[in-house]
Amino acid sequence: MIEYDSKCLTPDRLCRSKFAVITQLHDYMTSNDFTIDMDFAEYFPYLTICKPTKTYDLAPPILLMGNLSDQKRLFESHYGTAAFEGGRTPDKNLERLAAAGYEDAVENGTFCEECEATVMFPDGPKYVPFLRYMVHYKDPGGRNLIAYAASLLNRNWQ
């Protein structure tokens, strides 16, 4: 069983029709010098938002979750429950294995990879292949944040 395996990708080279949200978000962020304006609202439903942390032993907790995000789809039944307390997903090990990507995004502006992971849910493990894109941006209010977009590669993962 694969615990976590990943391959780094270049966002500019992603298939634009297959990963429309990610490629359009990447274009938007890079052309806006990694800050946002009111057009960000178009992307928001597909994203989760977190705040950079001092260390990356674990992925940063999720602050806000888009209604149409694949992360919400993945964790839907656990979102808003104790398993999601403090913006944490039900799988702490996955958060540990995925943490380096956040640090990379903070250092380099963006991070993109194709992953395969076995995600531990309260009702058992599930194999989940996905592509994730992270972008470190500055809200005009002054705070630095990370926008995360994931695309589940096996739509029938359940």
Binding site: D37, Y43, K51, T53, G141
Partner: protein, 117 residues
């Protein structure tokens, strides 16, 4: 225009936003029920509200705007609020859109943001 409410007026309105009656608020804040009513009427006048329900809406809108301005992530939160309500402008969000719940949720998010600073 931002109306400046006193600390007590803000306390009264916060409890009213949670659905408490004047009698319950009076008990909670150790006030007479008539004093609570006076605070509510003063807030209605200050906010230029048409009635107590409109007053609750304006109070929550103002509170939300204050929180957003001070958050450092106003544009991100506006995008979240637009997703939840469909409205671009805070002044268009009503109690029917779940305004008090949105205020409460934003406050939770902001406390989480502050926790890790």
């Amino acid at each position: 225009m931002v109306a400046i409410l006193t600390e007590k007026q803000t306390e009264v309105m916060s409890l009213k936003s949670k659905g408490m009656t004047n009698k319950q608020i009076a008990g909670s804040l150790n006030l007479n029920e008539s004093t609570v009513q006076e605070h509510v009427q003063a807030v209605v006048r200050k906010l230029g509200a048409r009635n107590p329900t409109h007053c609750l809406t304006l109070f929550a809108q103002q509170r939300l705007a204050d929180r957003l301005r001070a958050s450092g992530l106003e544009e991100t939160l506006r995008a979240f609020i637009k997703m939840q309500t469909g409205h671009d402008s805070l002044s268009d969000i009503t109690l029917d859109d779940g305004l008090p719940d949105i205020v409460e949720y934003i406050e939770t998010v902001l406390s989480q943001v502050a926790e890790n600073d």
